[in-house]
C-alpha cells in the first residue's frame, strides 16, 4: 500500500517523540490501543495552569506508519492550543490532513481518543471531573 507523502514525512521525521513526567500535576497522559490490535499510542500534554494553554506535547506510538503519523500530527496541533480548543480536534481532520485511506481511519480515531484521554487525565489530577465522551464510532 502506498502511503501519502505527509505520512512518510511524519514517519521519517516524527515531531515531539518523547516522554513528559507523568507524575507532574500539570501533565496529562493518555494511553490508548492494545498490543494485540497492533497499535498503542501514548500522548502527553503539559498545561500551563494559569492560562489553560498546552505548552508542550509528546508522544510514543507502537504501530504502523499511519498511527505514528497521526500521533505526531496530533502533538503538533496540540502545542499552543487551549485545552478547550484541543477537545475540538476531530479524527476526520487528521484523516484529511494525512490523506489516510479507509483502512487506516482507526489510526486517527486512536489519536483523537489519546487526546481526550490525556485531557481527562489532566482534569482528574487537577480536581476537575472527567468529561464523558461518546463512544468512538470506529473500533
Amino acid at each position: 500500500m502506498a502511503y501519502s507523502e505527509k505520512v512518510i514525512d511524519h514517519y521519517q521525521n516524527p515531531k515531539n517523540v518523547g516522554t513528559l513526567d507523568k507524575s507532574s500535576k500539570n501533565v496529562g497522559t493518555g494511553l490508548v490501543g492494545a498490543p494485540e490490535c497492533g497499535d498503542v499510542m501514548r500522548l502527553q500534554i503539559q498545561v500551563d495552569d494559569a492560562t489553560g494553554m498546552i505548552t508542550d506535547a509528546k508522544f510514543k506510538t507502537f504501530g504502523c506508519g499511519s498511527a505514528i503519523a497521526s500521533s505526531s500530527l496530533a502533538t503538533e496541533w496540540l502545542k499552543g492550543k487551549s485545552v478547550d480548543d484541543a477537545l475540538k480536534i476531530d479524527n476526520m481532520d487528521i484523516v484529511e490532513e494525512l490523506n489516510l485511506p479507509p483502512v487506516k481511519i482507526h489510526c486517527s480515531v486512536l489519536a483523537e481518543d489519546a487526546i481526550k484521554a490525556a485531557i481527562n487525565d489532566y482534569r482528574i489530577k487537577n480536581g476537575m471531573e472527567a468529561i464523558k465522551f461518546e463512544e468512538s464510532v470506529i473500533h
Partner: protein, 405 residues
C-alpha cells in the same frame, strides 16, 4: 555499487533465472505448436519439449515422468490432490487430516471438503512449528483417506518430518499428500525415499516462470488416482484437461534441472548468508527466531522484534528492501499471521515479525545493507514505542488493562 531495491521475499516468488528464459523463448516463437496436435511437426515439437521437461521435473523429485501432471501452479495442484482424492476414494472414507499451519490453498480446500460432507482434522503444531507424530497417528480412523501435511512452511521455513509422516500413512493404508512448494528445488526431495503419494509444487518458487506447476501422482505401490477437477480434452492422463502451457512447462523443466545440478552448492552459500543475517539481527535485544532452527529450509528465517509493529517496521526500509511482515495490518481486521499464532506466539510477537526469504541471486553486500537498515529501524522505532519504554522500566505489559479499541 549496490543496486536497490533488494529482493528478500523469495518465498513469495523468485526471479526467473536467465537460463530458464532462454530455454523458453523458442516455444513462444518458432515452436508455438499445441502439444496435443498429433498431425504435424508443430505439434510434435511441442510434445517432445513437454516430454523432455516432464523428465527434467520428474528427475528432480525422484519420480517417473508418467507420474507428473502439469497444472497452472501449486494452488491448482493442491485443489486437484485433495478434492480429487476425496471424490475418487469416497467409497473408502471421507476423513482428511491436515495441520493448522498449512497454506490457504490447502486449508480453504479442506473447508470446501467439509461443506461437501467430508470430515477434516486440523492438527495443532508444537511451538517449533512441527506436528506431533503421535497426535497424527492417533487422529487416523477407519474412514481416513488422506493425510495432507506440507513439506516446508512458507512463513517460517520449518521442514516437517515428511518421511515419518509417509511411514505412518502407509502403515495405516492412508494416502499421503504434501504441498512441497517451498521445498522442491531448495532441499533434496525424493518421493520414494520420503514415502509421498501425491505432491504439489510450482515453477515460480524455483527460478522458473509463474503459471505452471505440477502434481506428482504415484503410479505404483500404491497406484493413486484422482478425479479430474477440470474436464475437457483429457490431457495429462485424463486428470487435468486443458491445452498445455508449453513454454511454461519447458521453463519449469529447465528450472528443475538447474536446481538438481546446483542445489547442494547453492543452499550452502545461501544458508551461510541467512545465518549471517540471523546472527547479526539476533544481536538486537528482544529478538526471537520463529519456528524450529534445526528443521528449517536453508534460505528462510522469520524473526520477531518485540515492541515494534511489523508494518511500521517495514515502512522504514520497504522502498529499498522487499520483505514480508507476519502482520497483515492492511486489512481492517488487523489480523496477525495465523501461522505464528499457531506456534503459540502472543499477538504482540506475531505483530512484530519479518519473514526473510533469500535466494540464488542474494549477495553478501545485500545482506550487509539489510542488517544495517533493519537494525537502525528497529532501534529508531523502539525509541518511539511506548511498549519498549514500559518494558525498559520493568513494567509487565500483560498486567496492563488496555483500553478496548
Amino acid at each position: 555499487m549496490l543496486k536497490l531495491p533488494i529482493y528478500l521475499d523469495n518465498n513469495a516468488t523468485t526471479p526467473m533465472d536467465p537460463r530458464v528464459l532462454e530455454a523458453m523463448t523458442p516455444y513462444f516463437l518458432e515452436h508455438f505448436g499445441n502439444a496435443a496436435s498429433r498431425n504435424h511437426p508443430f505439434g510434435w515439437e511441442a510434445e517432445e519439449a513437454v516430454d523432455y521437461a516432464r523428465e527434467q521435473v520428474a528427475k528432480l523429485v525422484g519420480a517417473d515422468p508418467k507420474e507428473i501432471i502439469f497444472t497452472s501452479g501449486a494452488t491448482e495442484a493442491d485443489n486437484l490432490a485433495i478434492k480429487g482424492v476425496f471424490e475418487m476414494y469416497a467409497a473408502k472414507g471421507n476423513h482428511i487430516i491436515t495441520a493448522t499451519t498449512e497454506h490457504k490453498a490447502v486449508l480453504d480446500t479442506c473447508r470446501h471438503i467439509e461443506k461437501e460432507g467430508g470430515e477434516v482434522t486440523y492438527l495443532q503444531v508444537k511451538p517449533d512449528g512441527l506436528i506431533d507424530l503421535n497426535e497424527l497417528e492417533a487422529a487416523i480412523k477407519p474412514t481416513t483417506i488422506l493425510i495432507a501435511i506440507m513439506y516446508a512452511n512458507n512463513e517460517i521455513g520449518t521442514v516437517m518430518p515428511v518421511k515419518e509422516i509417509g511411514a505412518i500413512a502407509h502403515k495405516h493404508g492412508v494416502l499421503f499428500f504434501t504441498d512441497a512448494t517451498q521445498a522442491v528445488g531448495k532441499i533434496p526431495v525424493d518421493v520414494n525415499n520420503d514415502g509421498i503419494d501425491l505432491m504439489a509444487f510450482t515453477a515460480h518458487k524455483m527460478y522458473g516462470p509463474k503459471g505452471v506447476g505440477a502434481l506428482y501422482v504415484r503410479r505404483k505401490n500404491p497406484r493413486v488416482k484422482v478425479t479430474a477437477q477440470m474436464d475437457g480434452g483429457g490431457h495429462e492422463r485424463g486428470m487435468r484437461s486443458g491445452t498445455l502451457n508449453v513454454p511454461g512447462i519447458v521453463g519449469f523443466g529447465k528450472a528443475c534441472e538447474l536446481c538438481r545440478l546446483e542445489m547442494v552448492a547453492e543452499s550452502k552459500q545461501i544458508s551461510k548468508l541467512r545465518d549471517k543475517l540471523e546472527t547479526e539481527l539476533m544481536k538486537l535485544e528482544e529478538a526471537y527466531v520463529n519456528g524450529s532452527k534445526e528443521h528449517r529450509l536453508p534460505h528462510v528465517t522469520n524473526i520477531s522484534f518485540k515492541h515494534v509493529e511489523g508494518e511500521g517496521l517495514l515502512m522504514g526500509f520497504n522502498k529499498n528492501i522487499a520483505l514480508s511482515s507476519g502482520s497483515a495490518c492492511t486489512s481492517a481486521s488487523l489480523e496477525p499471521s495465523y501461522v505464528l499464532k499457531a506456534l503459540g506466539l502472543g499477538d504482540d510477537l506475531a505483530h512484530s515479525s519479518l519473514r526473510f526469504g533469500l535466494g540464488r541471486f542474494t549477495t553478501e553486500e545485500q545482506i550487509d545493507y539489510t542488517i544495517k537498515a533493519i537494525s537502525e529501524t528497529v532501534l529508531k522505532l523502539r525509541e518511539m514505542s511506548p511498549l519498549w519504554e514500559m518494558y525498559k522500566e520493568g513494567i509487565d505489559l500483560s498486567t496492563i488493562e488496555w483500553a478496548a479499541h
